[in-house]
């Protein structure tokens, strides 16, 4: 146990995800040894991020204003919506530079054992967004795991009566791997989604 504020700092850092007591102690002593200007900048950023960052009113992505950068950009295609679980997935898709439409961040995935059902996600808001008929295609880009698949199948069922084109991101073999190490489910998906090779 350290005295006063040093122990407080270790305790606070230890509450962050993935930071154990030893890591918290190491980071605390790094902060103690760091330049005061650097520490002040870190503290200011931490306060600013809580005060300024909010969730976009339309898509629930992180934003610094009422609308996020993507929803307020008139050049983005408003007829296509890509549905993702978290804001970090928006960044992942944006890095591909393949998608020019807009997003909808669900805020997680359906996980009954974890106590997360459809009503705990921004699904109602998504259905409301689709109601005006301007959106023609929905891309379901939830994670390729059980929770993501369940969420995608639930959304597909809910949206089916609206007559939109609903697609799911392709899943299959990762580039740079050997076929023999692929698991049966992934390899099965790769076969389902195989495509014709043009000469």
């Amino acid at each position: 146990m350290y005295e006063g504020v040093v122990q407080d700092l270790i305790d606070e850092l230890g509450m962050l995800p993935g930071i154990g007591p030893k890591s918290a102690q190491r980071i605390a002593f790094h902060i103690l040894a760091a330049d005061p200007a650097d520490v002040r900048r870190l503290a200011k950023t931490l306060i600013e991020v809580k005060e300024k960052v909010q969730f976009c009113r339309i898509c629930f992505n992180v934003a610094q204003a009422e609308l996020c950068r993507i929803c307020s950009d008139p050049r983005r295609d408003t007829t296509v919506i890509c549905v993702v679980e978290e804001s970090k997935d928006v960044v992942a898709v944006e890095r591909t530079r393949e998608f020019r439409g807009r997003y909808h961040v669900l805020g997680g995935a359906i996980n009954p054992i974890g106590g997360v059902g459809p009503d705990d996600l921004h699904i109602r808001e998504l259905i409301a967004r689709l109601a005006d008929g301007s959106v023609t295609e929905l891309i379901l880009a939830t994670d390729p795991n059980t929770e993501g698949e369940v969420t995608a199948s639930y959304l597909a069922r809910q949206i089916a009566p609206m007559g939109l084109t609903v697609s799911r991101l392709a899943s299959g073999l990762p580039m740079g791997g050997d076929l023999e190490w692929a698991d049966e489910v992934t390899l099965g998906r790769a076969f389902e989604g195989r495509r014709t090779v043009s000469p």
């Binding site: 009954p112 054992i113 059980t146 698949e149 369940v150 199948s153 639930y154 698991d183 489910v185």
Partner: protein
């Protein structure tokens, strides 16, 4: 036993660090085991989809000094989780089965072979779609409670042994009660619902499937009340259950 092999069903997973997961497994010979699957969240992981919930896998595990083992190899025996993920209703039924199995195996590394076989059989039946998912779930729950020592008495009165069926169920007493023994708080039940519970417990699918939706709803309510009474804490998956 630094390295051992077993087969098991993945009950649940939770993220650990940057790319790992803690996987809770229900194994045939070692009961409930928690193990780390390193690097599983990377798209290039050799585990792929094998360690997702409700997957039935052949495993090699390493027992370290901590309470957590490490998964070193996994081979898929049956992809129940992948099949059920495509159907929301059946997935929620599977989630209740997995959570119940976890709660009924309160001690880690305590083998529970009958419950394990029941879970594998239940997932197989659910994935095959040969019976309605609600009936499969209720049959599993009644039998899982029975093999864990909480069997519901459905043939005779639990107090005096008067041969049934009787139109009252006392969750606290553990089954049907005759009109003379009926305690306060016992639920009234139709004879059809009591008959359905007995069919599900004894595996009479023809009799169970001949029932109407109202009887099934009534018996499902009794099963849920009985389950929650014995598990003491409510199941998190149960409010999300979607019955067809």
């Amino acid at each position: 036993m630094p390295v051992y092999r077993d087969e098991g069903v993945v009950l649940r997973t939770m993220p650990l660090g940057e790319a790992d997961r803690i996987v809770t497994l229900f194994t045939r010979r070692n009961g409930r085991v928690r193990a780390v699957a390193k690097g599983i969240r990377r798209t290039s992981s050799r585990f792929g989809a094998r360690l997702e919930p409700a997957m039935y896998v052949d495993l090699q595990l390493h027992q370290g000094r901590s309470s957590l083992d490490t998964v070193t190899q996994a081979v898929l025996l049956a992809p129940y989780g992948a099949v059920l993920a495509g159907d929301y209703g059946r997935h929620t039924a599977a989630a209740v089965m997995l959570e119940t199995s976890e709660r009924l195996t309160s001690e880690e590394r305590e083998p529970a072979l009958r419950l394990f076989l029941l879970l594998v059989g239940g997932l197989r039946t659910l994935a095959s779609g040969e019976h309605p998912s609600g009936l499969v779930l209720d049959a599993f729950l009644l039998r899982a409670l029975a093999v864990s020592g909480y069997g519901m008495a459905l043939d005779d009165c639990v107090h005096c042994g008067e041969p049934g069926p009787h139109p009252s169920v006392s969750v606290a007493a553990g089954g049907i009660v005759c009109p003379r023994c009926r305690p306060r708080g016992a639920a009234s039940a139709s004879l059809a619902a009591v008959g359905l519970l007995a069919d599900l417990l004894h595996g009479d699918w023809a009799g169970a499937e001949a029932t109407d939706a109202r009887t099934r709803r009534e018996s499902a309510g009794l099963v849920a009340a009985y389950l929650q009474w014995h598990l003491e804490r409510g199941l998190r998956a149960l409010p999300h259950l979607e019955r067809a």
